[in-house]
């Protein structure tokens, strides 16, 4: 599995580049690696090829939404917010923690 490492700041320009080449969004997911270390993995596809972008965050810094480029991303981003407690800035549709109404807050944190 090939993954291109990016940073929190370079993400948006990378995604913009992919959007211009008409890539589609496959998925976004978060993984807890260590205490206060999370990986956010973005997968894009062109026909059957996939491109993976990844960066690490500490869980307290908010990440930037890509939902103005890929509208469907709002579901994945709300999911990350609800399950991991990571804030996402500028989502086109913000459920404010109401997408998965879990019994305990941010259970994957």
């Amino acid at each position: 599995m090939e993954v291109k490492e990016v940073t929190l700041d370079s993400l948006l320009s990378e995604v913009q580049g992919l959007k211009a080449e008409e890539y589609r969004l496959i998925q976004i997911c978060a993984t807890k690696v260590n205490e206060d270390e999370y990986e956010i993995l973005y997968t894009f596809g062109d026909r059957y090829d996939e491109v993976n972008l990844r960066f690490s965050v500490d869980g307290k810094t908010p990440i930037k939404s890509i939902s103005h480029l890929y509208w469907a991303a709002f579901l994945y981003e709300n999911e990350i917010h609800d399950l991991y407690g990571i804030e996402v800035e500028n989502m086109v549709m913000d459920y404010r923690g109401g997408l998965y109404r879990t019994a305990e807050k941010a259970p994957f944190k």
């Binding site: 109404r101 879990t102 019994a103 305990e104 259970p107």
Partner: protein
């Protein structure tokens, strides 16, 4: 066994994986056909006599289950279909599952299985029908000695 009425059935998916849901539906279709006992799968709680719950209960669905149960007319029977509805099953350890159906409402009949087999479900439904008859009888006896119509409040 004699069945005196045609009980109607309401199914709610509390947080099941779908396996039990489609088996509950399959039990009403031609091969298994619980409808031959006069049972109809209804969507309205006020029409229902038997409540079939599939899946373990979570914080979200607990209130819905309670609400549906309270809207059903008495007497009523609750069936917990599948191991998740009985006690949480494989998802017992999940953070969002608080346990089986009996943590929220009283359950009369437990039908285990992952997924519940239509044969087992039919067996459970037949038991529910018998129990419903019994409850109805008790309710009638109870009512006849309790209600005094002469003391009805004036309008």
């Amino acid at each position: 066994m004699k069945i005196s009425r045609s009980p109607w059935l309401l199914h709610y998916d509390a947080s099941s994986c779908n396996g039990c849901d489609i088996e509950v539906l399959a039990a009403t279709t031609p091969l298994y056909d619980v409808e031959r006992f006069g049972i109809i799968n209804t969507g309205n709680p006020k029409h229902a006599d038997i409540l079939v719950i599939t899946g373990g209960v979570n914080a979200q669905s607990a209130n819905v289950v309670k609400q549906i149960y309270s809207q059903m007319p008495d007497p009523k029977v609750v069936i917990a279909a599948g191991i998740c509805a009985c006690d949480g099953g494989i998802f017992k350890d999940c953070y969002n599952i608080s346990g089986g159906t009996d943590t929220v409402i009283p359950v009369d009949i437990y039908v285990p299985g992952c997924a519940v087999r239509p044969e087992a479900l039919i067996d459970g439904v037949i038991k529910a029908v018998a129990l419903l008859d019994q409850k109805r009888k008790e309710a009638v006896e109870h009512a006849s000695c309790q209600v005094d119509f002469s003391k009805r409040p004036a309008k």
